[in-house]
């Protein structure tokens, strides 16, 4: 039997990898990829707590479903923003979107 700690460490590692991607990548789309990894790490935790806690209480799975919805909304709006920015500025590199900076 796999103890809970293994799943939690897997989720923590995946979250850190996603964080690295978000902090380090220059491309806006690649930053969104990192955010997806972080959301998935959270989901692993939610499902693991459902399985290792009280199985008949569905809170873990319900909130996993809600995270799916939020991830879909985030990706749809995020990518629409990226495409819209690309049309105006002809770049999706996050460093070069510096009109508000002085």
């Amino acid at each position: 039997m796999v103890p809970l700690s293994w799943y939690l460490m897997l989720a923590a590692a995946l979250f850190s990898i996603g964080l690295f991607g978000v902090l380090v990548r220059r491309n806006a789309v690649a930053i969104l990829l990192g955010v997806e990894l972080m959301l998935n790490a959270v989901n692993i935790n939610l499902v693991a707590f459902w399985r290792y806690g009280d199985v008949t209480s569905m809170a873990g799975q319900v909130f996993t479903v809600i995270v799916f919805v939020v991830a879909a909304a985030e990706v749809a709006v995020g990518l629409a923003l990226v495409i819209s920015v690309y049309r105006r500025r002809n770049t999706v590199v996050a460093d070069e979107l510096d009109m508000m900076k002085w």
Partner: protein, 169 residues
């Protein structure tokens, strides 16, 4: 070591390995494809946790919709995604340090928690997880309100995305 532990280790190694490829690959389409591989590994993890419905929905929603959206976006904005420009910040090592510190912090906090290495009880044989999830999502004394709010959020995101990406002539 039992069979289940071996399967978990293989899945976890695969998931983390492809996750690392997502954040380090230079070619962005490859990064998106590696993301698909990672999400698939996460789906296998859900299956190992006996959450069949969540595992299948993971594949339908993430691989079927989100990953394909990513690949589309990467292709539509392809001009300046050439592989010869640096794909990472100048101070990438700060990011790496922060990520490692985050992981170390999580590990430190978790190993001090009393329920850290508890094992799962067996699922009662007549328990219908899919039915229970369905009822929990629409039952007034369970989670109908978060569910409805989430669906409104999805609708708003849909309208917003169409408005943003719409090419005004």
């Amino acid at each position: 070591m039992t069979g289940e532990q071996i399967i978990f280790l293989i899945t976890a190694g695969y998931t983390l390995g492809s996750g690392l490829m997502v954040v380090t690959t230079r070619n962005l389409v490859h990064a998106a494809l590696w993301l698909v591989a990672t999400l698939f590994g996460v789906a296998v993890t859900y299956a190992l946790l006996n959450a069949n419905f969540i595992a299948v929905v993971q594949i339908v929603v993430y691989i079927g919709a989100i990953a394909i959206l990513f690949i589309f976006a990467v292709m539509l904005t392809r001009k300046d995604l050439r592989d010869n420009t640096p794909q990472m910040n100048k101070n990438w090592w700060v990011g790496a340090l922060l990520a490692v510190l985050t992981f170390a912090g999580f590990a430190f906090l978790l190993q001090g928690w009393s329920g850290f290495s508890k094992t799962a009880a067996a699922i009662p044989s007549e328990f219908d997880a899919v039915g229970a999830l369905g009822e929990a999502l629409v039952s007034p004394n369970a989670y109908v309100l978060p569910f409805e709010v989430a669906s409104v959020l999805l609708l708003a995101a849909l309208v917003g995305a169409v408005y943003l990406a719409f090419n005004k002539k």
